[in-house]
């Protein structure tokens, strides 16, 4: 582990950052959409296809052995990363969305019945709303919503009241809001849900890149997240689940890998985690993802959080000085995300012009239309930071934003 956080070195580790976009140095502030990849991850992908590529788990030859070992090593690294009880509880999916759908379609289908309530929050991304609406409709259950206040904080009093109806079977909430950055009190949310016997799925898509999650300490039932938001490749997701829950769940998709024995009379299913990994998985990207975890581990402890906190504070302070700018989401507990609107200006226009200045932010509803409706907004502009961003990039962004506002008004 490095002694000191060396930003110059860190930026060199992410080769994509060093480029010009539209004639200006790239300022990449769309990390909540996807993070950039360190050289180690890019090299690992190259290495895998150059030296080790083979199908896993079945082949007896050397390449199959290497590919299998590489793939399973990432599972081991994830077990440590999450402090999971065992590698069997780490299931590879294609992303957060796939993990949530897996739980909805297996746990949900086996356990929900008419009149049950599935709770989501007003802060959710569509991918943690729609899968629950689909299974609720099928089973005659109901999706209800934990309200959010003006600042972007979930109403825990209303939450407990909803739980006290004794009808809540399941709670699906994000750890961190993708649209406005609020960090939700998941320890309390889980504890309260368990008090009434409800299970909880945490959408960790926006939190895993920012702070450590200990699934045992938090007593998490299910956790889903994506590798690409954690400095790893696209197309890989992780679903963690408690062993007893995963074992009781029926398989999701049928095919190779997930079976023990197949005959036309009957088929027996493989054990965890393979029961949920039908077909040839995304071997190369899972393998390379392990290197993203290694990279994070090599950074000094707390460096990520400290750097991001400094960026958040600085950006907030700079943006607040712009006339007509309003920050959406002012919860005291936030990750390094600033969502904002400007009086009389459509977010899309800001996004288009900032891009011309080399600045990449996200504009729109952030796949959280119910949250936008709550604040009566068509969308926001969202700048989201990672530890490889700098204050001087924020200066470039603020300067470009001021020029953009002048052009538009």
């Amino acid at each position: 582990m490095a002694e000191k956080f060396d930003i110059e070195q860190v930026r060199k580790d992410f080769p994509i950052l060093d480029q010009q976009v539209n004639g200006a140095p790239l300022v990449y502030f769309d990390n909540a959409a996807t993070t950039q990849k360190p050289q180690m991850v890019i090299d690992a992908l190259n290495h895998y296809y150059t030296r080790d590529n083979a199908n896993i788990h079945r082949g007896l030859h050397t390449l199959a052995e290497r590919a299998t070992t590489g793939y399973e090593l990432t599972r081991k690294k994830l077990k440590d990363f999450l402090n999971a009880e065992s590698t069997d509880q780490i299931i590879f999916t294609s992303g957060t969305t796939a993990g949530i759908n897996l739980v909805a379609q297996t746990y949900g289908r086996a356990n929900f019945s008419k009149g049950d309530i599935i709770l989501v929050s007003n802060l959710e991304h569509h991918s943690n709303i729609v899968p629950w609406q689909m299974i609720a409709e099928e089973k005659g259950a109901e999706v209800q919503v934990i309200p959010v206040d003006e600042a972007g904080i979930l109403d825990m009093k209303a939450y407990v009241e909803l739980l006290d109806t004794k009808r809540v079977k399941f709670v699906a909430v994000n750890h961190v809001s993708n649209a406005i950055g609020t960090i939700n009190p998941i320890a309390y949310i889980i504890e309260q849900a368990h008090r009434v016997g409800a299970k909880v799925l945490i959408d960790g898509a926006q939190s895993v890149a920012h702070f450590e999650i200990d699934v045992q300490a938090l007593d998490i039932d299910f956790l889903a997240f994506s590798a690409h938001k954690l400095f790893g490749p696209t197309g890989v997701g992780v679903l963690y689940g408690k062993r007893a829950l995963l074992e009781a769940m029926p398989p999701y998709q049928g095919g190779g890998e997930m079976i023990k024995e197949v005959s036309f009379a009957s088929t027996t299913y493989n054990e965890l985690p393979y029961k949920f990994e039908a077909g040839t998985p995304n071997i190369a990207d899972v393998y390379a993802f392990g290197f993203a975890l290694d990279y994070l581990k090599s950074l000094p402890k707390n460096a990520v959080w400290e750097q991001e906190k400094a960026l958040l504070d600085y950006a907030t302070e700079q943006l607040m000085q712009i006339d007509g700018l309003r920050i959406v989401g002012q919860a005291p507990e936030k990750i390094a995300v600033v969502s904002f609107v400007i009086d009389g200006v459509h977010p899309q226009d800001i996004g288009v012009l900032l891009d011309k200045f080399g600045v990449a932010i996200r504009t729109g509803h952030h796949c959280a239309q119910p949250l936008m409706a709550r604040y009566e907004l068509v969308g926001t502009c969202r700048a989201s930071f990672a530890f490889y961003n700098t204050k001087s990039e924020i200066d470039l962004f603020v300067k470009a934003l001021k020029r953009t506002i002048t052009m538009l008004s």
């Binding site: 539209n22 226009d349 068509v378 538009l408």
Partner: protein, 140 residues
């Protein structure tokens, strides 16, 4: 009355005067601001084209042999694009609009706004303008 291609060439010439992107966009924003306001009565659910980030409204009427378009958007840069599309396509016959090859967008360096198919509804708007031409042509 200029032909569709004559108007496109005019626009290419106008944009050719600008040296940097900021001047181009300031001109585009200005075109957006000057777009004749659309009658609120035309901003119906039927006339809306929903982009992922902004809406476009499009209404068409037949005036004699010609189609006249009216449009609006929530976003000013999209409005600038709309203003140019109306200048190029409005007041032409259905046959002329159906056959139009809109090469000016690429040549003035604004193709990116048509590439962002999900975000702004412009591609769907161009398609809809052509659909109106097909429909009016069939009715004639």
């Amino acid at each position: 009355m200029a032909t569709i291609n004559e108007t496109q060439d005019e626009l290419i010439e106008e944009f050719g005067l600008f040296e940097d992107w900021a001047d181009k966009y300031e001109y585009l924003i200005d075109l957006g601001k000057k777009l004749s306001p659309m009658n609120e009565a035309f901003k119906t659910e039927e006339n809306v084209i929903k982009g992922c980030q902004s809406k476009v409204w499009l209404h068409a009427e037949k005036h004699g042999d010609h189609i006249v378009f009216f449009a609006d958007s929530e976003a000013i840069i999209v409005k600038g694009m709309i203003s140019m599309l109306i200048r190029v396509l409005s007041n032409h016959t259905p046959a002329e609009i159906m056959q139009a090859d809109l090469y000016f967008i690429d040549q003035i360096g604004m193709a990116q706004h048509l590439a962002q198919t999900r975000s702004n509804g412009l591609v769907a708007m161009v398609k809809q303008m052509k659909n109106y031409a097909v429909a009016f042509n069939a009715m004639a």
